[in-house]
Each structure stands twice: as C-alpha cells, then as structure tokens.
C-alpha cells in the first residue's frame, strides 16, 4: 500500500513546486546570491532578477511594475492590505465592509482593527451558494467607509465572487477595494483594471511556486501605510531584504500557470464536473457546497450527513488520497465552519465536509479511483454513526 502513489487532491491547500520553477530559482541561492540593495554587480544581478519578476507578474495581471509588492505569503499580503489602508485612512473614516466567508487572514485582521483600533466592520451576507450580492455591498457603504474587501474565490467552497461588479461600485464611490485572490491566482484570469480592484493578494505556493512568498498589488494612489518598517525596500512599503530566489520562482510559476490556463482550466473543469456528478450520484445524502458552475475549475466540495470530516480524511489517507475538510475537529479552530454557517449549512451537517481540489498531476483515473473508494468509506462511517443521513440532512 505504501508503494502506491499518493493521489493528491488538496491543491487549494498547497501545490507541489514545478521543477521548471526550481530550476529558475537555483542560481539565486549559490551563484547570484547578492543583496539587491548592494551596489556591486552581484547586487545588481539580484536587483535585475526581482525587477524582471515584478515586470512579469505586473504584465500577467494587467498592472504596472511599481504597483507590485513582494511579501512572504498570502496572509502577509492580506494583512498589509487591510491594516495598511486602515491605518492610512483612519482620519477619514473607520468603517470596513467585508464578508463572513473570507480567509482568517482577512477576518482576524478585521476583528483586531475593530477590537483594538475602533473600526466598525460590516459583514455583507452570502446566499446558499456562497455568493455575495453586489447590491448588498452598495447598501452597506457609508461616508465612513474606507475599504471594501471581498475574496475573488473562496477556499472552502470554491465559489467565485462577482468581483468586477463590486469593484465597479467601489470605484464609483471612491472607496479602495481589496480582493484576496490567493485561490484565484493562476487559476482564473486576473486583470486588475477589468476587475476594478485597488489591492489584490497572491500567494506563490497555490500555483506551483514554493511556500514563503506572496505578492500584493497596490494601485497607484491607494493610501497604504507600511506595517513592516526598516529599510527602503519595495518602494518603502514593505521593509526587509527581498527573498530573491522565491520571488524569481513565483514569477516563473505564475507565467507557466497563465501560459497553460487555456488548456488546463477546461481540463480541470471536466475532471471536477465528473467528480461532482459521481459523488452526488453514488453517495446518498451527499450535497455540493458552493456554486455549481461559478466555482474554481478544480474545486469540488461536499457535505455528507451522519459522518465527521476528519474521519473521512483518515480513511481516504489510508486509501492514499490526500484531501481536506472544514470540520472543526481537523483544525485548531473549534466550532463548525463559519463559511458553511454563512451559507446556511449548520450544526452537525457542517462537520461532515470534504474538499477535493484538483491540480496538474490529477488524471481521469485519479477521479475514477476516488469515486470508487469514497462511497464505501462514507457507508462504513455511517454504520458507526448514531445519526442517520436523513436526520443529519434535515
């Protein structure tokens, strides 16, 4: 059993680093190791590498190079966007609009701004598919509103939000608009002008770059105070010596992702649809979470009545399938998933969630394999369970 290849279906958690990305990074560890701030040639070489990476990423998302800041991860990008704009605009107003389905990098930052710094946060609701209604955002705007933050695509349920429409509303009212595009980066086309976004977060390891590098797009003219101070790196907006090899790797990875998007997105979508169809057909009481079609191309998520998510994962792991759950027991957070709760999936039903997120190495055979092993796992766990699926689904 242990010699069998692991079928990795947790690409929303992280992705393997593309060997071409590793190759692009390698010279910057041992040969071109200079500090980009140094004046001699070694330094200039490193500087040239990060500026080329900045140019690449800027072009891929329709931005200008000086609007791209490199960070250490998606969480840092979200933190800098929210705290940076809030701090810079605190004299103008202290109201932020967001949603209940954001990543903790956004919600916990909002909660701190509320608790410690006197900001007021409005959470606009989502419908049962996890969709935000742009009209709700428009209605929530006050004279005090200094920032709107709505994610591009949700990590737990895959739903893609109407970012361009929300951005349009924000633009008309002159309010900076941030989107957490950590799940969307490399998977959905990004054009910051078409989306009307002023700030956009990316994380390298979601698109086959290594962990430990991210980026924040900041439209020129957007108020932003640095939250990390020190040297003058990143246009005085994010101090700290640049992580040169990782920045090079992230640019290479995003370039590769968008170069193959036209073939890869429809391929993943076909696999995803087969997976969704198969699970709903073969497992009684299974329910898809998130929007049926307006969702990330490789993202399939479900709730199953009568079983616990972590128990499903453990059985899948024994069958060499790596997947994920939003269940409380599998993470350090207690209580049911706030994302599912916001979508009206509550209590014990929300504890039986499973996320299968597909990526480059997954094949049709992988999908068929999961469709063979998953139904008996759910059936076995239901035999252990005092809750019959019908009751759990009520």
């Amino acid at each position: 059993m242990s010699t069998r290849r692991v079928i990795y279906m947790d690409h929303s958690a992280t992705t393997p680093v593309d060997p071409r990305v590793v190759e692009a990074m390698l010279p910057y560890f041992t040969e071109r190791y200079g500090n980009p701030s140094s004046v001699y040639r070694l330094g200039a070489e490193a500087r040239a590498a990060i500026e080329a990476a900045r140019q690449t990423i800027a072009e891929l998302i329709g931005a200008r190079p000086k609007e791209i800041l490199f960070t250490s991860c998606g969480t840092e990008s979200d933190n800098l966007a929210l705290r940076g704009v809030a701090w810079a605009s605190r004299h103008k107003g202290r109201h932020i609009i967001t949603t209940p389905i954001e990543h903790h990098a956004v919600t916990h930052t909002c909660e701190q701004l509320e608790r410690e710094f006197g900001f007021r946060i409005t959470y606009v609701p989502v419908d049962r598919d996890g969709l935000v209604d742009p009209e709700d955002v428009a209605r929530a705007i006050t004279d005090e509103t200094i920032l709107i933050s709505v994610m591009y695509a949700n990590n737990e349920v895959g739903t893609i939000e109407p970012i361009a429409e929300i951005g349009q509303i924000a633009r008309e009212r002159g309010i900076p608009f941030h989107t957490d595009a950590v799940q969307a980066g490399g998977q959905l086309p990004i054009d910051v002008d078409a989306l009307h976004v002023d700030l956009l977060s990316l994380s390298g390891h979601k698109f086959y770059a290594p962990k430990g590098v991210g980026a924040l797009y900041v439209r020129e003219g957007t108020p932003l105070l640095p939250t990390q101070t020190g040297g003058g790196q990143e246009f005085h907006r994010r101090a700290g010596t640049e992580n040169v090899p990782y920045i090079v790797g992230m640019a290479k990875a995003l370039e590769l992702a968008y170069a193959s998007l036209d073939e890869e997105a429809p391929r993943l979508q076909r696999l995803r649809d087969r997976l969704i169809e198969g699970v709903l057909e073969r497992i009684p009481g299974a329910r898809l979470t998130g929007h049926r079609t307006q969702r990330l191309p490789g993202h399939a998520s479900f709730v199953f009545g009568g079983v616990d998510g972590e128990a499903i994962l453990m059985y899948l792991d024994r069958a060499n399938v790596a997947a994920s759950t939003g269940s409380a027991c599998a993470s350090s957070e207690s209580g049911p998933s706030p994302v599912l709760e916001a979508m009206g999936i509550t209590g014990r039903q929300a504890l039986g969630s499973l996320r299968l997120s597909l990526g480059r190495e997954n094949t049709e055979e992988d999908v068929e394999y999961v469709l063979r092993v998953l139904p008996p796992i759910i059936e076995k766990l239901r035999e252990f369970s005092p809750i019959c699926p019908d009751a759990a689904l009520r």
Binding site: G306, V307, D308, E310, A311, M314, Y315, R318, S327, A328, C329, A330, S332, S334, P336, G347, R348, L351, E383, F384, S385, P386, I387
Partner: protein, 137 residues
C-alpha cells in the same frame, strides 16, 4: 498526530452496533465539537455481558469508544464504573486537543449505567463496593 493504536481501533472498531431492548442505554453529545456517541448495555447479574456503541465523530472519538467498549465488556458494573477517561486517553496517547473525545466515551458509559440504575437501584455499587473492587484491581 495519532498513534497506531488509534488508527487500528478507528479502522476496525470493536463492538459497533446496537442491542435490541438494552438494559442500559445513553446518547451523549460533546459540547466541544458536536461529536455524538450512543452506548447500549446488556447486563447479566452484576456483569456487563455485552456492549455496543455508535459514534459520530473523528478518529479519536471512534477509537475512544472502541477501546472503552473493549475494556468494559465482561467486567462487573463496579469495575466498569472505575474506568476513567484519563486511562483511555493514556492508552491511546491522545493529543491534548482530542482529550475531550475520551471524556465523551466515559460520559456515555456512565450515562448508560445511570439508565440501568434507574430501573435497578439495587445494582448501584456502594462506595464501599467500589473501593473493594478498586483494591482487587
């Protein structure tokens, strides 16, 4: 995160199921994580002749109920009543965030015994009995 013994009980839980017309029955829920457990007891004389359980929960919850059922089956009521959640947690090597799973298993057992004592108050072990049993063990 889990020791092999947890996985082993989780993959092959002992005594899963229900007992028709049980002598003692209880269903308990965890306020921590929403896990749920039910226990069925068949009691002959002063012994727990049979035990069945069903658990909604994670690997640790299922393993805790499986191990508890294994320990309880065939024991006298007084012996069974002395098994603690600490003993279950220690045997399974449960990590700190999963300790409440062993608490749930033992609460379910105690609740099922209480259910039996409601109809058989004479069977409730006196403190002296329990102490004597404890010394024997």
């Amino acid at each position: 995160m889990y020791k092999e013994i947890v996985i082993e009980h989780f993959m092959n839980p002992r005594n899963v199921g229900v007992i028709e017309n049980p002598d003692g029955y209880a269903q308990v829920e965890s306020s921590v994580c929403g896990d749920m457990m039910e226990i069925y007891l068949r009691i002959e004389g002063d012994r727990i002749a049979d035990i069945k359980f069903r658990t909604f929960g994670c690997a640790a919850a299922i393993a805790s109920s499986s191990l508890a059922s294994e320990w309880i089956k065939g024991k006298t009521i007084a012996e069974a009543a002395q098994i603690t959640d600490e003993q279950i947690a220690e045997e399974l090597g449960l990590p700190e965030p999963k300790l409440h799973c062993s608490v749930l298993a033992i609460s379910a057992l105690h609740a099922a015994l209480e259910d039996y004592f409601k109809r058989h108050p004479e069977a409730r072990p006196s403190i002296a009995d329990a102490a004597a049993q404890g010394n024997d063990a």
